[in-house]
Symmetry: C2
Subunit: 300 residues, 2 copies
């Protein structure tokens, strides 16, 4: 499974970067290959200052070795060897009319002292963060998510949609980071789903990413916008930063377990603003977005 | 002591806001008065888009009531009534040649079930975050800090200077947030220092603030700078945001105990940038700053 999933995310990285470069038309991803002192490494691919994308990364990491103490505590296990690989992406477009997107697909193994797999699971998901809300884009994104889920089990979409709304929640602001999508973790073999079944599910979601996101970019990338709309986007990006640095477990684990800082914080947007007590005008498009973020909607 | 210190910080808020308005010359502080549902409230004073200051706040809060569960855990006490008041300020100048400054002076009381003071202490400090390092400014700031400390005990400056370097440390970046100053906490009455002695010490530091900071602003505010230097400032402000959202106990406690979000996050700069893997040119002024932040210097 390690090799199979690793190969899968390597191919997916190529596919996704190719699709994003094609829709950008102005620049290409630059690759950094890095090694992790404790074992493993990654390929970070970053796009900056394109025609469409202001900043983004599509990163693979494959790490293994002794489980860091903080993760031992988190998983409730003693000293153990582990293996983890995954693809993480965050794309921040220039235009406030094009939503930010985040996705992640990962596989984890823990070993017993004899080197046998003691526990293995998949995790991941994909979610959308618009600055101006086009209802049809939200419906499109969620419909693609649901279609990928329904191939495997009709209960998956409602379950993982709800988890996504719960996870990407800026509790201190009492609002969602965006309009959600899918989020799942600890997908382990049980009587209903083998690891091969979960592999099929996770890769269905991974394969759906470009279909979920690229048509939205195509549709919105040529819309004009004002300076005030750009400012609104940068203020909302502040909320994205707040979520990632205060609440996101992946980011905080990475920072506390000697992950590669620049690959982890690649998720932060290039230009961000914080205004004191900024409140959108009642009835405006900006106020409408905030209202939707305050209580998750069923889009499909 | 509650009333005395509260009166002190109210007067200090007026003094500091007046001094900052005078050096800015372009705008004034706007005041928001707010109430805390659990008891107490505050006066938030914010300056934005002045001639010299891009964004800043000089805030008082006075809160009391039942100790929130997270703080019970932190202080290792059971359910108790508490009182806390303090002045917190963060000032982000426009020009990258003028350093950001942060300061805080606070007083805390915990009560026993009969309403008697079970425990009381002062905390606070002041620290400087330059974007371009003028050695003489660092020496000036630290000299004023040392002079205020030396009035009370020659051991205070080295001790609280070291604590400041340790506290304002971006561990995930392996560098200081700035060039430090003073940081102290849990200043309780003991055989050497009564609470009146600590009051005298904390107010000496508070009274030294304008002398520590304003002359630096006066000296640097008219220097010219390039767009590239402004970009560098905004990238470094990203590190400021990282510290406040990832590491700063005050910020995180505030966010997790229903503090007033806009008063807490007033500390975040207005314009911030994150570039992927930004590295200053070897030998440049920017590289020089990073070198100094990597290992704290003795300035006095």
């Amino acid at each position: 499974m390690r090799e199979k999933f690793q190969k899968y995310i390597e191919d997916l990285q190529d596919t996704i970067c190719g699709a994003l470069e094609a829709v950008d038309g102005g620049t290409t991803f630059k690759q950094d290959i890095w090694e992790r002192p404790g074992g493993g490494g990654g390929q970070t691919r970053v796009i900056e200052d394109g025609h469409v994308f202001e900043k983004g990364g599509v990163n693979i990491s494959t790490v293994h070795g002794q489980l860091p103490p903080l993760m031992q505590k988190h998983f409730g296990v003693e000293q153990a060897e582990f293996f983890a690989c995954g693809l993480s992406l965050v794309i921040h477009p220039k235009s406030p009319m094009v939503p930010t997107v985040h996705a992640n697909w990962r596989y984890f193994e823990l070993y017993d002292p004899d080197g046998n797999v003691a526990s293995a699971w998949f995790g991941g998901g994909q979610d959308l963060t618009p600055y101006y809300l086009y209802g049809e884009d939200a419906v499109h994104f969620h419909t693609v998510c649901k279609t990928a889920c329904d191939l495997h089990n009709p209960s998956f979409y409602p379950k993982y949609k709800k988890r996504c709304d719960e996870y990407f929640y800026n509790a201190h602001r009492e609002e969602g980071r965006g309009i959600g999508g899918l989020f799942f973790d600890y997908l382990k073999a049980d009587e209903n789903m083998s690891m091969d079944d979960w592999y099929a599910f996770v890769t269905s979601v991974g394969n759906s990413f470009t279909e979920a996101y690229i048509p939205i970019v195509e549709k919105r990338k040529t819309l004009s916008y004002t300076d005030a709309q750009k400012t609104w986007q940068e203020i909302r990006r502040g909320r994205y930063v707040e979520f990632n640095l205060i609440h996101d477990k992946g980011t905080l684990f990475g920072l506390k377990t000697n992950g590669r800082i620049e690959s982890i914080l690649m998720s932060l947007p290039k230009h961000v603003q914080w205004h004191y007590n900024h409140t959108p005008e009642a009835g405006s498009a900006e106020a409408e977005l905030v209202k939707v973020l305050a209580s998750p909607k069923d889009w499909v």
